[in-house]
Symmetry: C3
Subunit: 340 residues, 3 copies
């Protein structure tokens, strides 16, 4: 990076800090490198539906706090999927908003979470991140008719396919955290839920959105959300908490509750339906609550359904439930849709 570039970056940083990003697109003097970096941070922010580079930066700090490997993975993945979008000539305002970054971010962490890192794995990550850009464009085109958002569907599809493929590829090895393939069995109540289960579970539910099993990372993410939107932060925490309560009431295993497994999808559903897609009032809050509860049930169902493949549910419950609740909304005139 040349001196001129660096100077441009600092000049811009000093003068252009705006309410929702380091750099605002209307600005004529933005250096392309800075614009790209800002797009990456917004991409990381979009993982929790925040078009805000400060939120993205804090999320990135939260990830690096827990794991340097995942920190670099998320930077590489976001950069690769964003660059693919730029090379294919996607509408620049979409790229600038980070829309072509968040699926790349997640797929990169996921692949390094489930596969041992080697050179082939890193190439695989770049390929998968590029793939999320194609799938996102396909899903956007597919769902445009119903005005339904793509959410993290490209991440879910790409991760499931790329991890599943390793069962045929002898040079890619899964890590210990990938579930072993097995047939689903009846559950029994395991362990006792204590106060620490609930506090850890609450923040782990936020942390798991980025595959981080670390309640402090979760708390940092919550701060990132707070900077971007108080409503989103409240929704996220309430969502994680509700998911946890549903799991507890139904008799889910204590270690799963503590790990935030039942929280991260519910947190995302709560952010999406409680703070983004609908005008918040009593009807939409009840609607969002129903969705959050069903998300926890859906997580249990999908994670059991994927057991014969030894695959994780990822954020598919969130995607499915938000799709259904947004698709259904035009038939419910009492719900007011946000003009986003």
């Amino acid at each position: 990076m040349k001196l001129k570039t660096l100077r441009a970056i600092f000049a811009t940083l000093a003068t252009q800090i705006s309410s929702n990003g380091l750099v605002v697109d209307g600005d004529v003097r933005i250096h392309p490198v800075l614009s790209f970096l800002d797009s990456i941070l917004r991409g990381i922010g979009q993982v929790m539906l925040q078009n805000n580079s400060f939120a993205g930066l804090i999320f990135l700090i939260g990830i690096f706090f827990n794991s340097i490997l995942f920190g670099w993975a998320v930077v590489l993945g976001t950069a690769a999927s964003t660059a693919t979008a730029l090379l294919l000539g996607v509408n620049r305002s979409h790229v600038r908003a980070g829309l072509f970054g968040f699926n790349g971010a997640l797929v990169a962490i996921a692949l390094l979470y489930f596969l041992e890192p080697n050179i082939l794995t890193w190439i695989y990550v770049v390929l998968a991140a590029a793939c999320t850009t194609i799938i996102l464009a396909a899903v956007l085109n597919l769902l445009a008719i119903w005005k339904v958002p793509a959410l993290t569907a490209p991440f879910v599809f790409t991760t499931l396919f790329f991890v599943m493929a390793c069962a045929r590829f002898g040079r890619l090895h899964s890590t210990g955290v990938l579930p072993t393939a097995g047939l689903p069995k009846a559950a029994t109540v395991e362990g006792i839920v204590t106060f620490s289960t609930i506090t850890e579970g609450l923040f782990n539910g936020i942390a798991q959105i980025f595959f981080q099993s670390n309640a402090i990372s979760g708390a940092i993410f919550a701060i990132g959300l707070l900077i971007s939107s108080r409503k989103a932060c409240c929704a996220g925490l309430l969502g994680s908490f509700t998911g946890l309560l549903v799991a507890w009431a139904m008799g889910a295993a204590e270690p799963a509750i503590r790990s935030g497994a039942f929280g991260f999808n519910s947190a995302l559903t709560a952010i999406a339906l409680g703070s983004v897609f609908f005008v918040l009032d009593t009807v939409s809050a009840t609607y969002a609550l129903l969705a959050v509860i069903i998300t926890a049930v859906m997580f249990a169902a999908i994670s059991a359904a994927l057991e014969p493949l030894g695959m994780p549910a990822l954020t598919s419950p969130f995607v499915l439930v938000v799709w259904l609740f947004v698709l259904a909304s035009p038939l419910f005139p009492r719900l007011r849709v946000s003009i986003l």
Copy 2:
């Protein structure tokens, strides 16, 4: 319920019995409670595509005849899904026609068929019934473009997800009738098909639409169909019979044939394609026959495909085949679509 309410009910009952329901919507003087009860009965009727509260009443009698538990379940489920629709402000004429009831009816029986009843199960039933209303609205919006009906898809999705979730929920226990998860194996011809296999199988095929393994309940359901539509009754019986014949010819196991397992989806396909969606003539009758045969094959396929999850096929073969045959119909100019 106040005396005034009761008086209104009897007054209305006495004067307003119409050809297809206890209460007709245009009527100004209908009491809301009566209107709600009539919507519930129509909802039960809609399980076999009949917007007719008399048919619904007779179906309910057929269920209570076999099991009081299932009788109450169907009332609760239909009421819960219908009430959810009313609370969310759904178009009243759709609610009045029972469209927001039949998926709730089925999901309630299904959950009590596959799960041991306890307080949590009943709460779960209400939650699932409410969920069918959201999914129905979503499917209606999704399929409106192609003018394809939603059928029992919301019931199938909700039941599969809610039963599957029990593999993670220690406080919900499955009953003995839920299949055990296993890997599909090659079949051999089992048992000998006799005259009693065929007669029992024929009526069980109608009974199984409501999860009742009772040929007399099946006969009562057939009477309900007959009251609503002679064409629907013939189609249903012929459909059940054809499904049974296909299974027999292909060498399916005798107990499965006797139980009506190969009949209920074929019966529903026959009612839908033979008496509802197309004008009946030689071309559409042949088309419906092909669909009924393929439904029996699809039932075999889907029930085997769900074996690794230990899940039943429910009415998914019916939904899938009718969707395909209705979606395909605009390309076949020889078929005349009913104006429904």
Copy 3:
């Protein structure tokens, strides 16, 4: 066949050989039988997206060269699905272009590849071929909104359902080539890739499109492609080669690479995206290359995902990847779509 018919055939053959078919539709004097035969050959050609009866004829020769059973199966299947379309009154120009033939062709070979032939199997083949016509019409209607082609989706669906159903049908027996149901396991690098692996794998990758494990049949198919379109022939061979290279790099088992398993889907993706749907330039060639690589990964993933059902991936990776890449294309203004 009457003498008049035969004379008409020879007369037409002598005078009407055109650049892409034995018979051109505009011609007034074409005998219906000849027109039907030409439609069948075009249907066989359409398996590799070639509306060309010469290509179809050479493909048929390639199949008969390897197996007389499969040769007759492909003729029967194509005839049955084409005849179903004619009986249902489908737009004649679509039928004439072989669009209602190629799925029937493939489903017939597939069923005889996976099931022991007996009388019931042959009836089953005709039923399945008729079923592909309905599913094709449904898929055409479904995807028309996005201008996405149906490809071999009807073949994939029908074959999976009809083979899966045999787990319930005691009179249909699977052959030894159907995979046994099992749980996916981690792969290890097996065998050493030699020069003969690559040459055999390259042509087997073309041969496997028609389920033929015979490199010479593959070479004959390549000649058929060459006659129809040089671009398609190059794309097909490059696609098969790229799929093979990806599998080799990732450490797939040598026997699978040699058999062409990783080639046939990539070959089809290359033909579709490299020679049919986009104007060939640097951007679209790169786009097609990315798709071809992802197709090989997708094949690995889907074939592992279907292991618990003991089902083969067939051409589902090709269908899925081409759907995604065509659906995504409107968002990438640098890609120019072919006017087809």
